[in-house]
């Protein structure tokens, strides 16, 4: 059966003189393209997942979610090989390497079987950590170069059923082999799965959403730099502060490798309380991702908002209404 939609093989094969509104299927990228301006011409591209584009990414432009800031690392549960679904294992199979899709080749590795997460489909595809708060993590083997402005970490996760100072995404302090204290910089969760900004001076700031249901999927963003600290749950502000940070504080906090699931405890549940936490997607940025907020302090613009809305669309998580119990 012939396609009922006009097709083109690739960008170079797009019609040279389309009419406004002409719509085709582009075969190499699996995108619907629509001519939005016949002069040029200008094409808008669409796809089911609404992919995120950035300078060295799998997509660099032409998607609904485009940012110009390159993430340092980007892990996507639907692309375990960092490229496409062809490397995804069967459901339940252990994952030794969750490959970076940012273009930076900073894969998150775990060579010990009992510490490996497993591939799951819980709405979206993801990596479920072992059902233990003392097992399970991935090492990105990447440390920020000194002199950064701070950090921005954005995750789509389902927390474990119970945890206690669990590292979700954390950087080891200068000189430490792993994030071993309860407030190494990044995102942490504690009792009842409240999200915390593990800040750049080895303390923590809790999100105000302390009654959020434990086992729902959530988008959590933390940012910490000189004069600016934030926690967002979806687009809703969970914490804000303006504490000063010195360059030495920042370098010390971010002086070791970044880890997924490592901290005072791991991102897994206690054995008696059910399954471990699930990572769907993780983005780590060196520095402060741009954002704007409305009069309530909620996220309403900038590249951070673009990333949050990309994740919300992809995983069907309402960005403006965090799950609450």
């Amino acid at each position: 059966m012939a396609s009922t939609l006009l097709t083109c093989a690739n960008t170079g094969a797009r019609p040279a003189t389309p009419a406004l509104g002409d719509t085709l299927y582009q075969e190499d990228t699996n995108q619907i393209i629509v001519c939005s301006n016949a002069t040029g011409p200008v094409w808008k591209t669409y796809e089911a997942n609404g992919e995120l584009a950035y300078p060295s990414g799998l997509y660099t432009a032409g998607t609904p979610y485009v940012i110009t800031t390159q993430p340092d690392m980007h892990y996507d549960g639907s692309r375990i090989n960092g490229a496409d679904a062809s490397g995804n294992p069967a459901i339940g199979v252990a994952i030794s390497s969750w490959e970076d899709r940012s273009g930076n080749s900073r894969d998150a590795d775990q060579a010990t079987g009992a510490d490996q997460g497993s591939f799951v489909k819980m709405g979206g595809y993801g990596v479920r950590m072992p059902s233990s708060s003392s097992l399970g993590f991935y090492d990105t083997n990447h440390t920020f170069a000194s002199g950064s402005d701070g950090m921005t970490v954005i995750v789509a996760v389902t927390p474990p059923n119970y945890n206690y100072y669990a590292g979700v995404v954390a950087a080891a302090k200068t000189g430490n082999p792993t994030p071993t204290i309860f407030a190494d910089a990044g995102i942490m969760m504690t009792t009842y799965s409240a999200a915390y900004l593990a800040n750049l001076v080895h303390g923590y700031y809790p999100s105000s959403y302390t009654t959020i249901s434990r086992q729902g999927p959530r988008i959590i963003t933390v940012l910490d730099g000189d004069g600016d600290q934030k926690v967002f749950e979806g687009t809703q502000v969970g914490y804000t502060n303006t504490a000063s940070r010195t360059p030495a504080d920042i370098d010390d906090a971010l002086g070791g490798d970044w880890f997924l699931g490592e901290g005072y405890q791991h991102f897994g549940a206690t054995a008696s309380n059910g399954g471990g936490g699930i990572f769907y997607e993780v983005l780590i940025f060196r520095g402060l991702l741009g954002y704007t907020v409305d009069g309530n302090g909620d996220l309403d613009g900038g590249e951070m908002n673009t990333v949050v809305n990309y994740l919300a669309n992809k995983y069907g998580i309402p960005a403006t209404h965090p799950y609450e119990s």
């Binding site: 339940g92 199979v93 252990a94 030794s96 390497s97 590795d109 060579a111 010990t112 079987g113 009992a114 510490d115 490996q116 497993s118 072992p130 059902s131 233990s132 708060s133 003392s134 097992l135 100072y165 204290i181 309860f182 005072y264 405890q265 206690t270 054995a271 008696s272």
Partner: protein, 86 residues
């Protein structure tokens, strides 16, 4: 998840080695099955003994290699003692 309790780290390591042989470890991406872990919680009757996780599902399921009566339930509290530093 289950566990087996050993009096020495050497005995735990030997059992881990047996598990690795049965599971075909090492293999690409996976260098070892697990590390022997010391139980440090003074409130546990197993304090000072050694153990390792014995997975009951997934790729590295290995509880079938052990006699069921030799196994106990895994307990994360074995590895924590007191509150984190403030």
């Amino acid at each position: 998840m289950k566990a087996k309790i050993f009096n020495t780290s050497a005995k735990a390591a030997k059992s881990i080695s047996d598990v690795e042989t049965a599971l075909g470890i090492p293999q690409p991406g996976t260098d070892k099955y697990a590390d022997a872990m010391e139980i440090i919680n003074p409130e546990s009757s197993y304090e000072g003994k050694f153990t390792f996780p014995i997975l009951t599902e997934g790729t590295w399921k290995c509880d079938q290699l052990f006699t069921p009566s030799d196994l106990v339930d895994w307990d994360d509290d074995w590895f924590y003692s007191g509150e984190p530093p403030e």
